[in-house]
């Protein structure tokens, strides 16, 4: 690897640093630009990814309105440029969506968290994208902006319906992710995030799991279970959620929930782990979490 990248000098012919959303999406519509936010996916392998860029590079960090974390009328909005550090340190999220800071706390290193954006994590559409797991649990919506008929047009897609395969989503080529939105959670909910990989700090999850529920006098309701890296996209486990809903946990129910989750995941063998190991880990996480709930 050479610092001058002499082997194949990329030809970036245009650089854009738009200062309005209009300018950004109009330029994206004009075509052939690679968007960069924190650069922690795009820049990996010392400019390697940039060699594939044919024409333009667009830095979206100066587009107003894409940052910040705020609540309006019971809905929380996280701008696409919010970093993992912003999420980790947000008092609003700690109080009203604690699964998000819990996940950010397990995300890479400080330096990566300071740069990595939530928009980039979603756009990358990795089956192992960590921030997608809590957003699935929160039934978040992804807001997309594009240029249509001479104006900015926005639409939202539920994140549960957003990903279509590894690296693939329903986002169209001309669309910029502008924010994610979800309902603020009331007090008294239970939330946890699990993840494993070989190096505690900088790991791509072999398996990750998000869990949210309300517990009233031992009865479970509003259960949300999401798994990462056990299917072509991050997934919810709706059958297992239904099985647990309105029930009181005991050993038998925990055993049935583990069986149910096992039928909902579709793990594969890859360099990071075997399908067998992934099934095992998914069980271990769900059992550990349900026992945490059972034991209060």
């Amino acid at each position: 690897m050479s610092e001058t990248a002499s082997q194949a000098v990329p030809r970036i012919e245009a650089y854009y640093a738009p200062t309005s959303l209009e300018e950004a999406v109009e330029q994206i519509a004009a075509g052939d630009v690679a968007i960069v936010a924190g650069g922690t996916d795009l820049m990996v392998t010392a400019n390697g990814a940039l060699r594939r860029i044919k024409r333009g590079l667009m830095n979206i960090r100066h587009v107003p309105g894409l940052d910040g974390i705020a609540e309006t009328g019971g809905r929380i909005r996280i701008g696409a440029l919010a970093t993992m550090t912003d999420i980790l340190e947000s008092d609003l999220l700690r109080a009203k969506a604690p699964i998000l800071p819990a996940t950010a706390d397990r995300f890479a290193s400080v330096q990566i968290r300071n740069a990595a954006s939530v928009g980039g994590n979603i756009a990358n559409a990795s089956p192992a994208a960590d921030m997608v797991i809590p957003l699935l649990c929160l039934d978040a919506e992804v807001e997309l902006a594009s240029w249509k008929d001479g104006a900015v047009s926005t639409r939202t897609l539920p994140i549960t319906d957003y990903f279509t395969g590894p690296g693939k989503s329903k986002r169209e080529a001309g669309e910029l992710i502008t924010a994610v939105e979800f309902d603020a959670q009331g007090a008294g909910g239970h939330a946890a995030f699990f993840k494993t990989g070989p190096r505690p700090a900088l790991e791509i999850a072999i398996v990750s799991m998000g869990f949210m529920a309300r517990i009233d006098g031992g009865t479970l309701s509003d259960i949300r279970i999401a798994f990462g890296a056990v299917a072509p996209t991050p997934i919810r486990a709706p059958e297992t959620e239904k099985l647990l809903d309105g029930q009181t946990l005991d050993d038998d129910l925990i055993a049935r929930a583990l069986e149910s989750a096992d039928t909902e995941i579709k793990p594969i063998d890859d360099v990071r782990g075997t399908a067998w190991y992934r099934r095992r880990l998914a069980r271990v996480y769900l059992e550990e979490e349900l026992r945490n709930v059972l034991e209060g």
Partner: protein, 157 residues
């Protein structure tokens, strides 16, 4: 050839201007254009922290930051830690505790430590260890590095 882009930033307290190729990383610009060879290229993938610098108060892996994104930013590198009073307390602690062997990881370690202490004047030993998770050292076994940062933190407190 790739397009060149004009950038202007505050680099270790002074205004710096340059024209950088659009595909460069900030690390390449710091080392080649600005002759600041403290930050090192090791992995080029965000895994090792040897390229750590502080940008607008946040520590980042400069190997993953586009050079064009340096425009308008305030950047501190290890070269900027030197003042008229001599070396930074973190640097002094590294010297006193023998936390340097080959030295390749040292500028990144020191910048990450500086960031952690700037962020939290009341930092615990455990927070120091976690805060250095993104910095790899192949020589020291980490004990002396962690000792040095703890020493600097306690001296400042």
């Amino acid at each position: 050839m790739s397009l060149k882009v004009e950038i202007e930033l505050t680099l270790n307290g002074a205004t710096a201007r340059a024209s950088v190729p659009a595909h460069w990383s900030a690390l390449t610009a710091l080392r080649q254009t600005f002759d600041l060879a403290g930050a090192k290229l090791a992995c080029g993938e965000g895994e090792c922290g040897s390229c750590t610098v502080i940008v607008d108060g946040e520590s980042v892996n400069s190997c993953l930051m586009p050079a064009v994104d340096l425009n308008g930013r305030t950047v501190r590198t290890v070269e900027g830690l030197w003042t008229d009073d001599g070396v930074d307390p973190v640097q002094r602690a590294f010297i006193e505790k023998g936390a340097v062997q080959c030295g390749f990881c040292t500028p990144g370690m020191i910048m990450q430590a500086r960031y952690l202490l700037d962020r939290n004047s009341d930092i615990t030993d455990a927070e120091i260890r976690r805060g250095l998770e993104g910095n790899v050292c192949r020589c020291t076994g980490y004990t002396k590095i962690v000792d040095a940062v703890i020493t600097a933190a306690r001296a400042a407190a």
